[in-house]
């Protein structure tokens, strides 16, 4: 299969058409594997020095997007620009982009030094120069003195660091990381998250990071791209994604939010009231983007489990519910509640005091500004 040729004006001459700041641009990338459409038009601009994360469940196309940027896959249509130059026709080895592979892909027949020096040797750098750069890179990842080790003698975390060093030693314009921490245990993962973030700031390299772990994405990124089924669902800062999800999918995937469906009951200047499970609750209108402004039209609300509060007495804006289940996990109390129309709602909070038992009748409520109106997807 041939890669689509770039736009006539831009591609052939390789003329720089974009603003300096944009280091990578994807334009309407499409890709299918046999009958399966994996990417359905991905467009995105990435700025220099940004830490951008592709977040999505497996099979959403995030790895394919990364491989297309690296040149390891060819898009069926659309263009990839690096520094304003269309690289569609450029082989992976010709792109100034490096990848940290999911399984590290360290060359088993070479030691740590040879692995890191691989890219430099190909560029035919002087021996001394290579020596210096590799030593520096090893210092940077805190593995000084490990030059002679072979990959099979390293722990998972060490392999990970070597893989990162092998990539950054080439000083790429963009570093692609495909779930680099996926195989590490939780504690090591948290530590590596901090280190990676620090490294990125220090080097000023653009990081494109792939993960399916929302916590990782929120902790590390400047911007998060939520992917779903080959499309971009939402792009935004961690705050935007977490606090202002645009769709029910994003709300559920990132914030583990409850999705409640209801109808608009009353519309006022600064707030509206929705009817949920036969009861009326008040919302503050923070943004009206997704709002159909008609009384009686359907409305979808996302409410994160940790903002749901509960009490024995009926309060303003509260809904009556029955406790179905309660459980503890990681210092959190988690309760499954059933609203009067049968829909379920999950509430969680820190601490393990659980005043209510399954079967008990309680009231749940939340602050009006904490419910977000989303598009249903």
């Amino acid at each position: 299969m041939k890669a689509p040729v770039c736009d006539k004006e831009i591609g052939k001459t390789g003329e720089i058409v974009l603003i300096e700041e944009v280091v990578l641009e994807l334009r309407k990338i499409e890709k299918r594997f046999k009958e399966n459409s994996v990417l359905k038009g991905i467009s995105l601009k990435v700025e220099k020095g940004e830490f951008i994360t592709f977040l999505g469940s497996s099979g959403c196309g995030k790895t394919t997007t990364l491989r297309i940027i690296a040149g390891l896959e060819t898009p069926d249509s659309g263009e990839v620009f690096i520094n304003g130059i269309c690289v569609n026709q450029l082989a992976p080895e010709k792109r100034n982009v490096n990848t940290v592979f999911q399984n590290y892909a360290l060359f088993p027949h070479m030691n740590v030094f040879e692995n890191i020096a691989y890219g430099l040797k190909i560029k035919k750098l002087e021996k001394k120069e290579i020596q210096r750069k590799v030593t520096d890179a090893l210092e940077l990842i805190q593995l000084g003195g490990y030059e002679k080790r072979i990959p099979s003698e390293l722990s998972g975390g060490q392999k990970q660091r070597v893989a990162i060093a092998r990539a950054i030693v080439n000083n790429p314009q963009v570093l692609l990381l495909d779930e680099p921490l996926g195989a590490l245990d939780l504690q090591l993962r948290r530590q590596m998250q901090l280190e990676l973030k620090k490294l990125q700031k220090q080097l000023g390299i653009t990081f494109i990071y792939i993960t399916h772990d929302q916590e990782e994405a929120i902790n590390m990124s400047n911007r998060i791209v939520i992917m779903r089924d080959g499309r971009l669902e939402q792009i935004g800062t961690p705050d935007e994604i977490y606090n202002h999800p645009e769709t029910s999918y994003v709300a559920q995937f990132v914030g583990n939010a409850n999705i409640l469906k209801g109808k608009i009951h009353r519309i006022e200047e600064e707030f509206l009231e929705a009817k949920l499970a036969g009861e009326v609750t008040k919302l503050i209108l923070s943004d009206t983007k997704n709002l159909t402004k008609e009384v009686g039209s359907p409305i979808v609300l996302a409410i994160r489990s940790e903002v749901v509060e509960f009490s024995q007495e009926k309060k303003e804006n509260s809904l009556s519910a029955i406790v179905l289940e309660k459980s503890f996990a990681g210092g959190m109390l988690r309760m499954v509640l059933q609203l009067s129309d049968g829909s379920e709602l999950i509430a969680s909070r820190h601490g393990i005091d659980a005043p209510y038992e399954p079967g008990e009748q309680i009231y749940c409520y939340w602050k009006p500004e904490q419910a977000v109106i989303v598009k249903e997807t």
Partner: protein, 256 residues
């Protein structure tokens, strides 16, 4: 518990002893001074001396070494290239050809021998080293091909991708990544090919010429017409060679 492990161990030992029995017999009799193998006349190196003086026997050894060497090198080149190439092409015929290529090691040797004999005489090729090498290469290729192929299939694709990502072109990737990683498979495929070719009697009988004797063919003819104890001496030397090769490769493997 002890008795439980004793029976299996006894079984293993007995089978191994029986397996080594004929080999030991040959080694012992190679030092027998007598010409008749049923009579023991004391220790002597007579047959070793006679072996090295026997020019036709030495020539057969030489022929066999050349034949096995050429066949396994041919097989290594053709088989490795094919295994690597097959990973990168998507021709419909490739499964079919891969299947046909393994036929030489699937069908009974006698058929392969007979097929080559009639085919070569149909082509009018003069029987001798050329026909031997052609025939042996045919049954050596599948050993290398299958071994290298299964190694390639088991290999992590992202290693080659990582190398390209780091700036290596296709050819560079092959020589710095792929080849070193499949080298063990190539070597063991070549070793197996060499042994099979060196050992082969059935196919060689059919495709050898009147003047080109390989060692197994010579031994076979002797066995039918009366054996000289030189064979014992030769076998012992070959056995020693085998043990050295296996022991050597074992040491290399351990070191890794």
């Amino acid at each position: 518990m002890k008795n439980r492990t004793k029976i299996p161990n006894m079984f293993l030992i007995i089978i191994l002893v029986i397996m080594y029995l004929p080999i030991l017999v040959i080694i012992v009799y190679s030092f027998n001074a007598s010409k008749i193998s049923t009579v023991w006349e004391g220790v002597s190196l007579r047959w070793y001396q006679e072996l090295f003086r026997d020019r036709s026997m030495m020539e057969a050894v030489r022929n066999s070494l050349i034949l096995a060497g050429l066949s396994c090198i041919n097989a290594a080149i053709i088989g490795t290239m094919a295994a690597v190439g097959m990973m990168r092409i998507s021709w419909k015929s490739k499964g079919m050809i891969a299947y046909f290529s393994t036929i030489p090691i699937m069908i009974p040797e006698i058929i392969l021998g007979m097929v080559f004999m009639v085919f070569f005489s149909f082509l009018g090729l003069p029987f001798g080293m050329v026909t031997l090498v052609l025939a042996h290469t045919a049954f050596c290729i599948p050993y290398v091909f299958t071994m290298v192929r299964s190694r390639l299939i088991g290999m992590d694709v992202s290693l080659e991708e990582a190398a390209r990502d780091l700036g290596a072109g296709e050819i560079k990737v092959f020589f710095t990544i792929t080849l070193p990683l499949i080298a063990p498979a190539i070597v063991s495929g070549m070793l197996l090919s060499f042994a099979m070719s060196f050992d082969d009697v059935v196919i060689s009988i059919f495709v050898t010429g009147a003047t080109t004797n390989t060692l197994p063919v010579k031994i076979y003819t002797q066995m039918k017409n009366g054996v000289s104890p030189e064979i014992n001496a030769l076998s012992t030397i070959m056995l020693l060679g085998t043990i050295l090769v296996i022991g050597g490769s074992e040491v290399i493997r351990r070191k890794r």
